[in-house]
């Protein structure tokens, strides 16, 4: 089977029962994606597929051949952190760190969802092209990612700070 993971093409021969999560963790050594429940209830296993977030524990690897898979390892590295990774450190958006890669991947995709105008349960005007980036919107949209350490406040601050900076830069670039 052929997979495209973090822009690399990778061949792997795995059981058809192997989840995308176990492919990453057990077969490819990409252990940044975490297994919190293996049942779709915690979000620790969140990765991006073609830019959208999924629970990789609920995905069979065999079905994700030739799709663009992005994991935490592809987002940034220790020497070259993604701005959101840096913000998680600055705002202490984690404690034990086990939910963290899932939170970060989920947040990256969530920003995309907001930018594309996808509404959440909280969005009052479904016709809006520009959905607000309020704390409540982010909380609602991140609620599939559990953090038992309770780092929620720091996570929200990190996401807000990163997004605010990014949109300020974009506005500057546009002007």
């Amino acid at each position: 089977m052929r997979f495209i993971i973090n822009e690399h093409s990778i061949e792997a021969d795995v059981d058809v029962r192997t989840s995308l999560l176990d492919l990453l963790r057990d077969h490819l050594g990409l252990t940044g994606t975490k297994k919190g429940c293996n049942q779709g209830a915690c979000g620790a296993c969140t990765v991006l597929v073609d830019g959208e977030r999924i629970n990789s524990c609920l995905a069979l690897a065999v079905q994700y051949q030739d799709r663009e898979i992005l994991t935490i390892e592809g987002l940034g590295t220790i020497g070259d952190l993604h701005p959101l990774q840096a913000a998680f450190i600055e705002y202490d958006g984690f404690q034990c760190g086990y939910c963290t890669p899932g939170q970060i991947c989920s947040a990256v995709a969530m920003i995309g969802e907001i930018r594309r105008g996808l509404p959440s349960a909280l969005t009052e005007d479904l016709a809006l092209e520009q959905i607000g980036f309020s704390e409540d919107e982010i909380r609602e949209r991140m609620s599939g990612n559990l953090c038992r350490c309770g780092a929620y406040n720091g996570i929200i601050e990190a996401i807000r700070a990163t997004y605010a900076e990014e949109s300020a830069q974009e506005r500057e670039a546009a002007a």
């Binding site: 059981d15 049942q39 202490d92 404690q95 890669p101 909380r139 990612n145 350490c149």
Partner: protein, 736 residues
Amino acid sequence: MKFDTPATTNPIDRLKVVGKATDRIEGPLKTTGTAPYAYERHDAVADPAYGYIVGAGIAKGRIVSMDLAAARAAPGVIAIVTAANAGKLGKGKFNTAKLLGGPEVDHYHQAIALVVAGTFEQARAAAALVHVHYARTRGNFDLAAAKSSAQPPKAGGIGGKPDTAVGDFAGAFAQAPVSLDATYTTPVHSHAMMEPHASIASWNGDQLTIYTSNQMINWSKGDVAATLGIPAEKVRLISPYIGGGFGGKLFVRADAIMAALGAKAAGRPVKVTLQRPLMFNNTTHRPATIQRIRIGAGQDGRITAIGHEGWSGDLPGGGPETAVNQTRLLYAGPNRMTATRLAVLDLPEGNAMRAPGEAPGLMALEIAIDEMAEKLGMDPVRFRILNDTQVDPEQPSREFSQRQLVECLRLGAERFGWDKRVAKPGSVRDGRWLIGMGVAAGIRNNLLMKSAARVRLDSHGIVTVETDMTDIGTGTYTIIAQTAAETMGLPLDSVIVKLGDSSFPASAGSGGQWGANNSTAGVYAACMTLRDKVAQALGLNAADVDFADGQVRSGNRSIALGDAARSGELVAEDGIEYGDLDKTYQQSTFAGHFVEAAVDAATGEIRIRRMLAVCAAGRILNPKAARSQVIGAMTMGVGAALMEELAVDTRFGFFVNHDLAGYEVPVHADIPHQEVIFLDEEDPISSPMKAKGVGELGLCGVGAAVANAVYNATGVRVRDYPITLDKHLGRLPTLT
């Protein structure tokens, strides 16, 4: 280093590094997914086989037969371990039930077999083919039903005495002009840490190495040895990163023992993780409690009598949830009593979860205090302040080393806008929402445990700290680096910290909020010994040497620290041990918790709007991580107040909602802005660090503050946690 007299000025007091809000030094590893957790050690163990645990399908009884033929014949299966072929096993000092059951079954989902196969999928599929025939026997699963059979547990240990009495409680309570007699219940809670228990075991001859996820390396090394019947020197545990514990990883659990047995049987390394739906019944939990509280007071609001009785249950040989203990210390009052009773239940093993005792105890006590204040027509902040004590109420000659509860409550009230609270419940509306404010006090003791470390200095002036201490998300890596940097006069990035390896000196470990103070004190002790060695190596007089800016200075000489190790690494090993300062003084930490809640007037839905904690907990070593500890604990407190409950099937004896979909914990949308204030405090009686702990304090009282806020919003008093909307919906104020 023996610490038996209060600390005076020492190198930590410079506070160049300690006490500063500092990013976690392991942050880049954790945010990039490169911190290696137990199940992920491809770097250390190549090509392990996979083990999958089969849990017992009954709560109590015997395994009559086990048919393993189909599982053995399944593709990829290498070995199957059961009690029948595992050899003689012992039981760890810290375990109540055996970690491998059979033929007797002690509790539901007790491990009874491990299937080892070449891949995870093969092991899982084969495990499903194990057929077990059980003979089920009746058990006791219902705490309320077993309450009348409960007995005083044996005295001693952290639990204290089963009965305490001072003055004439019964007489004073009977005569009190204002009194309360109420019963509260708290349900079973689960740690539900995000990383499931996991281990990779590897044998090299008779030497066993287990990469695992464990809070207490030294305890657990001993318990692995005791369970397997091998000498402790033959066991090495390695646990540098831990995906949360909250008490659930204080002890050796089935993953470690089954991985070791599986690896022996398979003749190759084996990795085992507890599957999430197994964890809730297989591992430990915070036991449910029933608590009766009686308080009597004069019309002036002074408590004259206070009594707290607590009931909980556990397996035979287990211990109680010590829910009454804080009531011995929190408020004044001449006539007092507490009683702890333990019933035998055949549910899974109860044990410590974050702030054991105080967490459920304060959930009850601090509602009772709110109820008393209302009966007296007194503001609940004022009522608490009026009944403050600066001495141990049972032994008035014994003072608290520090006690700033009143300051926590005063400052909290001011910052939270408590003066806007309307005392009459159900009287504030904001659109469809009923609004209320609640307060509770928090107390959690400071426990002293000996703790050791080794420090190495190299010729580049880099100091490496080695200790078996663990970082369970608490920020240990960073505070240990801060401590070593401060003591050696180095910048933070000149310190390397290595943790969680049983080949390092034994530390206090992570539990009971004792980790920060004790483990850093141990590192401080080792660094002070290293300073002597440095002075000696440089031919300086240790008494007048100054360590600062990477230099060692004496008189007008200034030498780079690394020069002391020019002819070879300098190594020092030392630790902290304590005298009796925790006996002569009561050492505790305090908090005032404030909560604003909104309740939907029509549906009864509860939302938390704001939270504030004001904490007095000694010197705060890293305010950034300490704040995270407290807000994380406040989050867990919201869970305990509003949603967390392992539901007991009292017919078959198991927790029904045994996964993360059924056991609800707070999510992002449940948690509003949280504020934390640390009072300026140094406690020279606690250790040379003058620190205490905050990780459990942050939880102590939160549940009751939420409950009191909900009551203030609705006027409906719920005394059975969690406060789910069905418990007050029928009694909400009529809609106008």
